[in-house]
């Protein structure tokens, strides 16, 4: 476990993360997240985070080494989309039994890798460590190395057992696995001055595809998206990109920063949520690529795409203004989304009565103040009971949040919209923003609300039938 703990230490020391940079040495050692409170914790483990980050690589076999819980209880639950291979949706696990726990699970793991390669012949096998084999001392690295040599195929160990920390740490440990074993291990057939990496975009509900046509039009080639709709060989060759965009806040900052360090690929942090942010991101992509030698006309091409798309998006939002003006939104999400969608929601007349900042950085908070003005209502930590009360008392007309708090709103008989990772709609880019506003309108104006709030007949005064 010494290598694992040093990895975790390195991740906690990430200099690219400004939260870390602002901390004292002592505070940094303690790690990124507050110690979890038993009996009052919510959220996934590090293994969950690693799987979320890597499963979008669509053509590899993802093998989970552990008892049935880790994979059997969780597979087929993420909406990441593929334009081709479907192997990533097939679930593989060693399903360790009592014997494996007593005698060690290494043999079963090795045989499992062999079976997978014989039956499915993927370009690579990713093997995920979990708590039980980590405890009994199964040497995942050694088994993967041996299997890789024996079968002549990359077998990648992902060292992120659940008990080392939360989901966010797992994202980063997954990044380390790619940096150690995948990125830079192959060379692309050709390169162009327009080659871009997108890091931290998982193509949930196909969101990458809301943006890719715009990049195509600009002439930008996505050399690799890490890891939405990715192929193994693309990721292995991603070190030849000219520039990179890092999305989804800090989840994979270690990949972006280390690729800059190792392969001199400059990156910027951007977002495809919100109209202004999408435009900024497209501009930055053009600027970075031009700075790395792409023809200067790329900037004008980006501007022309932005002009057209922005005009179209605002035009599409126009009809919603009258229906949405003054409706109050409670926004419970994290990080970038706590401000990046706010501008567009405000532009159609929605009133943001609160936005959560639990998972936001200081920078995020500054942006919220900038956008929402001095009266920005930032919510640090809201219990489900408080959310319920706020909705029940009709201090908000709709809540936008993740699936966890869905029933808080619905049981209060209030409209709710999913904007986190389990959602079924794609909200990225310009098309995504109009989709989001359309969904809000649909939710607010659904005819059920008046009906479900009507009292039951026995709660009303009796009517005479005479």
């Amino acid at each position: 476990m010494s290598t694992l703990s040093s990895k975790i230490g390195a991740v906690f020391n990430e200099p690219g993360c400004e939260i870390n940079a602002a901390k004292s040495d002592k505070a940094r050692k303690k790690g990124c997240t507050k110690q979890l409170a038993p009996g009052a914790a919510a959220g996934g483990c590090a293994f969950d985070g690693a799987k979320i980050a890597l499963q979008p690589i669509t053509d590899v076999a993802h093998l989970v080494h552990g008892p049935i819980a880790c994979e059997g209880n969780s597979w087929d639950n993420r909406g990441t989309m593929s334009s081709g291979p479907q192997l990533y949706r097939t679930s593989f696990t060693t399903d360790m039994n009592e014997n494996d726990v007593v005698f060690g699970g290494e043999k079963r793991l090795y045989k499992s890798i062999k079976e997978i390669i014989e039956k499915y012949d993927p370009p690579a096998v990713f093997v995920y460590q979990t708590c039980v084999p980590a405890m009994i001392g199964d040497d995942l690295n050694a088994v993967c190395k041996a299997a890789s040599e024996k079968f002549g195929k990359p077998v990648i160990s992902v060292m992120s057992p659940g008990f080392v920390g939360p989901k966010n740490l797992g994202n980063k440990l997954a990044g380390e696995a790619l940096l150690d074993h995948v990125i830079g291990t192959e060379e692309p057939d050709d390169t162009t001055p327009y080659d871009l990496n997108i890091i931290g975009e998982y193509n949930l509900s196909g969101e990458l595809w809301q943006v890719k046509p715009l990049l195509d039009e600009m002439g930008v080639r996505i050399l690799s998206c890490i890891s939405g709709d990715a192929r193994y060989h693309e990721v292995a060759r991603s070190h030849r990109a000219r520039a990179a965009m890092m999305v989804c806040s800090k989840a994979m900052i270690n990949i972006a920063r280390k690729m800059e360090e190792r392969y001199a690929i400059p990156f910027f942090e951007g977002s495809f949520y919100g109209i202004g942010d999408t435009s900024d991101s497209l501009r930055q992509i053009a600027k970075l690529l031009v700075a790395r030698g792409a023809p200067a006309e790329l900037i004008e091409r980006a501007e022309s795409v932005i002009r057209r798309e922005e005009a179209r998006a605002w035009e599409e939002l126009e009809p919603y203004k009258a229906r949405l003006a003054g409706k109050r939104v409670l926004l419970i999400t994290g990080g970038v989304k706590s401000w990046s969608v706010v501008a567009a929601l405000q532009a159609v007349g929605l009133d943001i009565v609160g936005t959560s900042v639990k998972k936001s950085t200081q920078e995020d908070k500054e942006r919220i103040k900038e956008i929402m003005g001095g009266d920005a209502h930032m919510i640090d930590d809201m219990t489900p009971r408080e959310m319920y009360k706020m909705l029940k008392e009709a201090r908000a007309d709709i809540m936008l949040s993740g699936g966890r708090s869905q029933f808080v709103a619905l049981k209060a008989k209030m409209p709710w919209l999913d904007i986190n990772q389990e959602r079924h709609h794609a909200y990225a880019g310009y098309a995504g923003m109009t989709a989001l506003v359309r969904e809000i309108e649909k939710a607010l104006y659904n005819p059920i609300w008046d009906q479900v709030r009507k009292p039951a007949p026995w709660a009303m005064p009796l009517v005479s039938v005479a």
């Binding site: 959220g43 483990c45 819980a69 087929d76 060693t94 708590c131 659940g162 489900p384 029933f407």
Partner: protein, 470 residues
């Protein structure tokens, strides 16, 4: 009749099985004001929670002792204690149901001893019930976790009735111990049937009060309903116990040992014969005639069997389900004239050998897929959707989880009425797939008409009017 074999593969592909701890947690969710707690890393809870939310479309009370790597090495007591104290403070439950996981079982935590120590340290928590069940992830399956949790509930919460002591029994009170394969809708159906005989059923666990999707008056962080602790305590005063599914036999027999309440196990309640047995038992327990409603429902079921048998007869069916559900469905489908061509399950059980098929495999959905080609129907939980898609055969969802359909909690397949509707549901799937006859349907390739040299005479272009010839 079937041989039961275990898959010999090293790698499980597309698991059918889910783990014991979440089966145990679901059982605890059938108790009023309860907070189930998994003693393990936070992921154990998070995965289970998401799965239940997707299936029931409800808020799910489920907490974690949040074992970190360090806690796993150095001790688990502090985490269990902190979790109980925090839950008591934040959600004010009447009972906390604790399940172990793989991590804490490997570590060897003696949670029963932890609880004794916590009881001693925290007299202020004396009013909260604490029930612990051992549910290692690396043994058994979902159904076993449920079954083990109910045994512990009976052992730890039902007031014992000592031998020889006279006990005031309530001749109208009836215990029902439902297996994990019964839905809240199934429980509601059974309640209605039992109450129609003037009996008062108490379900342990009772998901029909907690996960039936109702709107509570106010925000509730624990379970929304279910059987109360006081009701569980007096299960020993019942006249009889009905257990549904072989998985509930251990709990029923522990109940009998502790309280002397005799029991009947129904290994299934789908199909005509087992429901005749149930109605017969209820009539004799209550001393009441069978209500007219059930006489009509039986007649309707018989009619549905007559109408439906055309569509079920000779059909080849593949089923992947936990033992009790597999047995229940296989028996019902066989009785309707279908053939079980493939049967895959998750864990061992005495019912498996009874299935009318060659072999029952303890395996995964990859095994089921490789055995299902050419079948007319695939029955398993929602994870079978990819398999059915690849095989291009109709798919009927059954069991847990069912995350890609609405109303999973309200699907009813017990009783005369539930069986009747199941015949309609599955029969309609067969009808929708019925093959239309085509010109070549009955032509065999080896009998293709040979090319005979037939002289062909061309017809003159101009038509000759018959009248002109006359």
């Amino acid at each position: 009749m079937a041989t039961v074999v275990a898959s010999r593969k090293a790698c499980t592909v597309n698991p059918l099985k889910m783990s014991q701890p979440i089966g145990g947690a679901l059982a605890f969710m059938g108790i009023r004001c309860c907070m189930p707690l998994l003693h393990g890393s936070q992921g154990c809870t998070s995965f289970g929670l998401v799965l239940f939310v997707r299936h029931f479309r409800e808020s799910i009370p489920l907490q974690t002792t949040a074992m970190s790597e360090v806690a796993t090495v150095l001790g688990g007591f502090e985490n269990v204690e902190a979790a109980i104290v925090n839950i008591a403070k934040r959600t004010k439950p009447e009972i906390i149901g604790i399940c172990s996981t793989g991590v804490t079982e490997v570590k060897g935590d003696d949670v029963d001893a932890f609880i004794r120590l916590i009881r001693a340290n925290h007299p202020e928590l004396a009013h909260i019930g604490l029930v612990y069940v051992s549910t290692p992830d690396f043994k058994g399956a979902f159904q076993d976790g449920w079954s083990n949790a109910v045994v512990q509930l009976v052992e730890q919460l039902v007031e014992p009735v000592s031998q020889g002591r006279r006990m005031l029994r309530n001749p109208r009170q009836l215990n029902v111990l439902p297996g994990s394969h019964l839905t809240p809708g199934d429980l509601e159906e059974l309640r209605e049937i039992i109450e129609a005989f003037g009996l008062q059923p108490l379900f342990l666990p009772d998901l029909s009060g907690s996960l039936d999707g109702h709107i509570p008056e106010d925000f509730t962080p624990t379970t929304l309903g279910g059987i109360s602790l006081a009701e569980i305590a007096r299960l020993g005063a019942s006249a009889h116990t009905i257990a549904v599914g072989e998985q509930m036999r251990p709990a029923a027999s522990v109940m009998e040992e502790r309280t002397g309440v005799p029991f009947t196990v129904f290994d299934r309640l789908t199909g005509l014969a087992p429901n005749d047995d149930l109605i017969g038992l209820l009539a004799s327990l209550s001393g009441q005639p069978v209500p007219a409603k059930y006489r009509r429902q039986r007649s309707q079921l018989v009619d549905a069997m007559l109408d439906g048998h055309f569509h079920f007869g000779g059909k080849k069916i593949a089923i992947g389900a936990e033992p009790d559900l597999l047995w229940s469905m296989a028996a019902f489908l066989t009785e309707m004239g279908g053939h079980i061509n493939a049967a895959v399950t998750t864990t061992t059980s005495v019912v498996l050998a009874r299935v009318q098929t060659g072999e029952v495999l303890i395996g995964d959905l990859e095994d089921l897929e490789s055995r299902s080609a050419g079948c007319d129907l695939l029955i398993t939980h929602s994870h079978g959707r990819q398999t059915a898609g690849r095989l291009h055969i109709p798919f009927y969802r059954m069991g847990f989880p069912m995350f890609d359909r609405l109303g999973a909690a309200h699907r009813v397949s017990v009783g005369y009425r539930g069986t009747r509707d199941l015949i309609f549901d599955i029969g309609n799937v067969f009808m929708a797939e019925a093959h239309q006859a085509a010109p070549d349907t009955w032509r065999r390739s080896e009998e293709a008409a040979p090319e005979y040299a037939v002289p062909r005479v061309s017809v003159p272009q101009e038509l000759v009017m018959l009248t002109e010839l006359i």
